[in-house]
């Protein structure tokens, strides 16, 4: 994808990503102010150079002074967006044609908690702030306990998004539910509405706030984290844009996570890198969703914790100090 990478630290790569994405071609929004300005300029040029190459495909654009103009599609150039503006707009549009899906194989989870630390490092989170948490579950008195990694379920009927008063949290065409921390007013209605307790709040100054100051805010990473606003699992939207698996999926040493695109009917295991068919994986292993009766339509599937070959360890050591 990008070809000018040299070895660098993850922090440096953040800045690099922005510059390598300058060439990213934007879809044209008819009402976009930038496009409108460009169109107005192009229109005046169009009058003077009427006999140019024409594709026959005419587009109607709205100029800044409110006129509708018709311009040949060959003559339209998207104005380049840069920096935060680009990060926000691409973060709202998502990756076209995809429907991301996560599969969690509970039979393999031994509570190594590598997913948690990889995630917390990537998203500037304190130890008690979880985008993904591994819970110790026991469904009924007679059933065996098991470890259950719990992410945001990126529901197709997301109750958190329904209640947001300002469009700060939104669902993207590719299924990811994101949060714009520059828009969030901190009412925490979404936290109350989420039945999976997936959302967290920056009650105090975020971790390492000083060292993140002045960085471009990336809505697909929720970094820099912002005081008084919400954060949660983002399916590592920034990594997907580079064709990489999410942080947690890559970090798992036990092959618990599969991540992929439902439209391709394929998911890739983060540990073995093996790609399998989603439908077959779910069919053969009795895949299920968390609390489907709530009608939230999660994009996360679980494979039941059967045939575990290791003992269940109670995790009493993973509780951070008061915050």
């Amino acid at each position: 994808m990008d070809d000018n990478n040299t070895p660098h630290s993850p922090d440096e790569s953040e800045d690099q990503k922005n510059s390598t994405r300058r060439n990213f071609l934007k879809n044209l929004g008819l009402a976009g102010v930038g496009v409108a300005t460009g169109a107005a300029a192009l229109y005046s040029g169009h009058i003077f150079e009427a006999k140019k190459e024409v594709s026959g495909d005419q587009k109607v654009l709205l100029t800044q002074d409110g006129k509708l103009v018709q311009v040949d599609s060959l003559e339209i150039k998207a104005l380049e967006k840069t920096g935060e503006e680009l990060l926000i707009s691409q973060g709202r549009e998502g990756i076209p044609g995809r429907r991301w899906v996560l599969v969690i194989d509970l039979s393999k989870c031994r509570n190594a908690r590598k997913c948690i630390s990889a995630c917390q490092d990537a998203h500037q989170l304190r130890p008690e702030q979880y985008h993904v948490n591994v819970l110790q579950m026991k469904d009924a008195p007679g059933t065996a306990p098991y470890n259950m990694p719990k992410h945001c379920q990126h529901c197709d009927n997301p109750p958190c998004v329904s209640v947001c008063p300002v469009d700060a949290t939104y669902k993207r065409p590719d299924g990811i539910v994101l949060i714009d921390n520059d828009r969030c007013i901190g009412c925490r209605f979404c936290m109350a509405a989420c039945p999976y307790s997936a959302r967290i709040f920056n009650w105090i100054e975020p971790k390492d706030a000083a060292s993140h100051q002045g960085k471009d805010y990336n809505v697909e990473l929720n970094v820099p984290q912002k005081l008084g606003t919400i954060s949660k699992c983002l399916f590592s939207a920034d990594r997907l844009r580079e064709g990489k698996l999410p942080y947690c999926v890559e970090a798992c040493p036990n092959g618990v996570y599969y991540f992929g695109d439902e439209n391709e009917d394929a998911v890739t295991n983060g540990t073995t890198k093996e790609t399998v068919r989603l439908s077959k994986l779910l069919r053969d292993n009795g895949g299920y969703q968390l609390m489907p009766e709530l009608g939230t339509k999660p994009r996360v599937y679980y494979l039941p914790p059967k045939n575990r070959l290791f003992p269940f360890e109670e995790a009493g050591d993973a509780t951070p100090e008061k915050a």
Partner: protein, 442 residues
Amino acid sequence: MTMDDNQFTFDKITSDLTHHIRINKGFLIWMGFLTVSLMVCLYAYSIQLRTGLGVAGIRDYVTWGMYLANFVFFVAASLIGMLISAVLGLIGMKWLTPITRIAETIAVAFAAVAGLVIVSDMGRPERLVYVFLYGRPQSPILWDVTVITTYLVLSLLLLFLPLIADMAIIHRKVDRLPSWLKPIYKVLSLNFTDNPQQNKIINRAIRTLLILLIPAALSIHTVTSWLFAVTSRAGWDSTVFGPYFVSGAFVAGSAAVIIAMFFFRKNYKLQNYLTDLHFNNMGKVLATVSLVYLYFNINEFLVPGYKLKRADAVHLHELFAGKDTLLFWVVQIGGLILPILFMLFHRFRKPLPIMLISVAVLIAAWFKRYIIVIPTQEHPFLPIQHVPQNFVHYSPTLIETMITIAPFILVLIIITLISKFFPVIPLHETAREKGIEHFKFD
């Protein structure tokens, strides 16, 4: 009644109902005390503004704490204006006349401050304007902001309209007023001369307002209940939350009105106007709305308690015999069942006893909101694990408590100012009802 109706002359009524409009030492001390207290609490809020909501005890699981319970309480208390003026007024209960302005004052004060209470719960209060810029019509918060603003404006108008005539009377007939107040009253009186055409306009406007007020008031508290009921959490996921909240609001509001009546009667010497009859009747109103509230309480607990779905079972256990038991039963018995029993007897509907009962009811009403808001969040569907203890159990901090008290001080300030500079009891209407048909305006 202590006096026959024909003993009321226009001058006596005017003097009785306006003699408290003066700046005396008691008023200054009381206002000074309120102002200083408010400053202390605002200092606490400035700390929260600087360092974030983390100064409060709320964390990722109990994410709505006392601030939100407080908000619900304030919205609830403001509903009384609609019950007294609109519902009871429209069906023609004449004895209400001296109480209407008290009810409207309480409504205005609580509704105005409710808007501020919710700002204190925001992580980013400086982005409040986003609600208007980017408001989503699907979000109950937008509805709530809309209906509370509407209700506040309606209540202000309803407070103001009957005041026009009173202002006209005062600025003409009361001579001993401070000179700087007179021009204000003159402006507010809008050249009112008790002209039939003017009365017609005012009466029509009041009638329209009363009709608009009923849906607006029902909306504010129904929508507030939906902040909870639209989620799927145990204890909130309920279809009767709207009427449950509305009936609870009438209980809190009626109690607030009775307390206010008691102190106005005593401090402003209104014994001839706020009589035992009014306390007796308001006691009956409070008993009635309490019974309705009890009915909804039974629905709210018996129905899920019968099925004991997993999350509901945990929730109800915590309330009935678990962590929140003490608070729950004190509120339910001390704030609802015992008051109803007492109020069945006439002797407990005398001014002092009914005031004391109302104080108990009002305090219980606040803690009832606490019980509705907080315990539900302490046991979500999935277990709370690997987080610090203060994430698991909510305990309010000192700063949070001060920020919670601030709105009460503000309400007292608003009520004090309104009642100090305007007649607590509608002058013009009272005179009319006492048979004084016409005033001599020059």
